[in-house]
């Protein structure tokens, strides 16, 4: 067994989570498993059909009873896929016959109705212990595994899918056509409706089977992980080797990796070794000391019950004013709610000012909407105050305002980058180049925390003055 190649993450966990892991496995492998199910089930279906000709109820019962025959190949396939090997095409016939092995006979006879079938299957198929040891092993593995619930729920899931399909067919066929007689589908085994219903049931079985088998397998794996510490082994194997002795360690690890530990490796193919291992496990006195019991306790809701009791205590005849009170209470409540709503609606009413006056570029309008000369003096003041970062900010705002006047609409909150982009798409080169330089300097100052030198701002300012002068003449 090569735990490194595991395609599922195994860890000790509550049974429900193990079942969910099984469902996840089945979902990942669904197409292959489903096809495999039909590979065994279809020949059998036809064979039984020939035997039980015209008795659809017997046909369905026989097929239902033979479920373990189709489930066994699924389990074998899953046990290979878990270790990341997909069986070759040549191995398929052998796998398909897995369900007919003599040791699976109990599953087809007295164990067929066992609620633990999902868990028994991997035990019989992969371990194949003799009677007494098998029972002891099953007891160990089934402890707290919820396998009974799994069988019960999966049985109902099948029924739900079957009912859903049948009802869906019934509802979807228009009335004029020969619809499905639902009563006959459940009742009259000679009617065509019953055959359709049986086929639906078979389909539902095929859809649920991969999930059921994989969930049982996951329960089995999780229990073994818990009992044998697979997850710990995996973590230990992944542990870093001792630094001084990396090479010897590798040499030591290599046989472990390449030739798996004997007792574990031959678990599936060699029942002898497994039997010895199991006996060993079972002999251990500390075995199975931890026990997790899940109880279902009735949920009581005192609050709810309290109000009900209060109402009960009203004798059988309600006072005549009660209904009226409730009615008027309701109407008053509604009236109050309406009033509150009207008040809220009034507050939410549309503003009186036309909206267009309130939009526009915030950086360009508002407190910075000043004349160009003001801008320049402001920038100079900031430069004199030895704050080139603020100066470049002011210059940037001033140039934005200029762009706005040139008819370049800039959305509120536009970034420097998008302003430059818009400018370069619409404006001539002599404007957009200096603007891009200003924007770049501003970006560095604002986000990069690299204020430009005063000389650089001076240069940009003189460019801007020229550009402003020219555009201003328009």
């Amino acid at each position: 067994m090569r735990l490194e190649r595991l395609t599922a993450r195994l860890r000790p966990c509550p049974a429900w989570q193990a079942i969910d892991l099984g469902f996840a496995l089945a979902r990942a492998w669904f197409p292959a498993l489903w096809a495999l199910w039909w590979c065994t089930a279809l020949p059998l279906t036809l064979m039984v059909l020939a035997l039980a000709w015209l008795h659809s109820d017997l046909w369905l019962l026989a097929l239902w009873w033979c479920k373990p025959i189709y489930e066994a190949p699924l389990l074998l396939w899953a046990s290979r896929a878990l270790f990341d090997e997909r069986p070759r095409r040549g191995a398929l016939p052998g796998m398909l016959g897995a369900g007919l092995r003599p040791r699976l006979l109990p599953l087809l006879l007295w164990r067929r109705l066992s609620p633990r079938r999902a868990l028994v299957l991997p035990l019989l198929l992969l371990e194949g212990l003799p009677g007494r040891a098998h029972r002891a092993r099953l007891r160990t593995l089934a402890e707290g595994s919820a396998s009974g619930w799994l069988t019960l729920v999966c049985y109902h899931l099948e029924a739900i899918l079957w009912g859903g399909m049948l009802l869906g067919l019934y509802l979807l066929i228009p009335e004029g056509l020969a619809g499905i007689d639902l009563v006959a589908a459940l009742d009259d085994s000679a009617s065509p409706a019953y055959w359709i219903s049986s086929a639906c049931y078979l389909l539902a079985c095929s859809l649920i089977a991969p999930f059921y088998v994989c969930a049982g397998f996951a329960l089995y794996l999780t229990r073994r992980t818990e009992l044998e510490g697979w997850d710990i082994e995996l973590a230990f194997r992944r542990a870093p080797p001792p630094p001084a002795a990396v090479l010897p360690a590798l040499a030591l690890l290599a046989p472990l990796l390449l030739a798996p530990p004997p007792a574990e490796a031959e678990t599936w193919p060699d029942p002898e070794a497994a039997r010895a291992r199991i006996a060993e496990v079972l002999d251990s006195p500390e075995f199975g000391t931890t026990r997790e019991v899940e109880l279902w306790l009735p949920v009581t809701d005192p609050a709810q019950r309290g109000t009900e009791d209060a109402e009960d205590s009203w004798a059988a005849t309600p006072p005549p004013w009660l209904a009226g009170t409730i009615q008027w209470g309701l109407v008053t409540l509604a009236a109050i709610a309406l009033l509150v709503l009207v008040r809220a609606l009034w507050r939410e009413r549309a503003p009186r000012l036309p909206r267009s006056t309130r939009t526009g570029h915030e950086a360009a309008s508002g407190p910075h909407a000043t004349s160009p000369l003001d801008h320049e003096s402001e920038i100079r003041r900031l430069l004199d105050a030895d704050d080139p970062g603020a100066a470049i900010g002011a210059l940037y705002r001033a140039s934005l305002e200029r762009l706005d006047r040139l008819g370049l609409s800039l959305p509120p909150g536009a970034t420097e980058g998008s302003c430059v982009q818009r400018a370069s798409a619409r404006l001539p080169r002599r404007i957009r180049v200096p603007f891009a330089a200003i924007a770049a300097a501003r970006r560095h100052a604002a986000y990069g925390d690299r204020a430009p030198s005063a000389a650089h701002v001076e240069r940009l300012l003189s460019h801007w003055r020229r550009w402003r002068g020219r555009t201003g003449a328009h």
């Binding site: 595991l6 395609t7 599922a8 993450r9 000790p12 509550p14 429900w16 989570q17 969910d20 892991l21 469902f23 996840a24 496995l25 979902r27 990942a28 990341d84 090997e85 997909r86 069986p87 070759r88 799994l150 729920v153 999966c154 109902h156 899931l157 739900i160 899918l161 009912g163 859903g164 399909m165 999930f211 969930a215 044998e228 510490g229 997850d231 710990i232 082994e233 973590a235 230990f236 194997r237 992944r238 870093p240 001792p242 630094p243 360690a249 472990l256 060993e280 496990v281 251990s284 500390e286 075995f287 000391t289 279902w296 949920v299 709810q304 019950r305 009900e308 009960d312 309600p318 209904a323």
Partner: protein, 240 residues
């Protein structure tokens, strides 16, 4: 041997990691149809019990019928919403250790809970949640239609970790190159060693200790010593 095409793919798991705004990963274990179906059945019974509690109202003639109808309306549409928003899960889900959360691992709120429970009517179609079952079997996170539309997940509740057994022995310092995962495995080994068979315990321990030259019954003892050392609060070598 045919290799799996996704040889280096992530192992199949029901754990989903969600990064919180604070930059840490929270693990969510999505819950599949079996526990959810059982929770639903349990909720169904509880709802039936609530309806039974309404029966005495019928003694109040028309008024009682009116109140009972209102209560039935509330129960049939808002029973799950009330419990999910208030406690994070309906009583049935709580009994099975399930919880409803947004996909980003935050507790479910009123809009999402309302949406997922209104869409229950569609999941129920054509009978007994057949459509919801089919959709949740096909979905990687076992979400039914309501969950898909409302961006919610049904997850297993994380149980509080019970750790830190008594460290009786002084222990021995483990090799420094061991990473966090290995240390965790060492502690897990110490915790679960009593449940393991003797031979298996030694075999398991040797995986770690053999490269360091320790074999046989000394191996589990060495790991137990390491575990005792790790388990104490002071990993820096000073006495606790």
């Amino acid at each position: 041997m045919n290799r799996h095409p996704r040889e280096h793919a992530e192992p199949i798991d029901t754990l989903r990691l969600r990064e919180t705004p604070e930059g840490i990963d929270l693990g969510l274990r999505v819950a599949g149809p079996v526990p959810r179906a059982l929770a639903l059945a349990l909720d169904f019974l509880i709802r039936g019990g609530l309806y039974l509690l309404l029966l005495p109202l019928l003694a109040l003639a028309d008024l009682g019928i009116g109140l009972a109808l209102l209560a039935i309306f509330a129960i049939e549409w808002f029973y799950p919403v009330v419990f999910e928003v208030w406690r994070g899960a309906t009583p049935g889900k709580r009994a099975l250790g399930l919880r409803v959360v947004h996909e980003d691992a935050t507790p479910v709120g009123l809009p999402a809970s309302t949406l997922r429970n209104l869409l229950r009517t569609v999941d129920f179609l054509p009978a007994g949640y057949a459509l919801g079952l089919a959709v949740s079997l096909a979905d990687r996170d076992f979400r039914r239609i309501g969950d898909l539309a409302a961006a919610t997940l049904v997850v297993h509740d994380e149980r509080p970790a019970t750790r830190r057994g008594p460290a009786s022995t002084a222990g021995q310092r483990p090799p420094p190159e061991f990473d966090a995962a290995t240390r965790a495995a060492i502690l897990a080994f110490a915790e679960r060693a009593p449940a393991l068979a003797d031979a298996r315990r030694i075999e398991l321990a040797e995986v770690l200790t053999a490269p360091r030259g320790v074999r046989g019954t000394a191996a589990p003892a060495l790991i137990a010593d390491w575990a005792a050392w790790i388990d104490r609060v002071t990993p820096d070598g000073r006495a606790a």
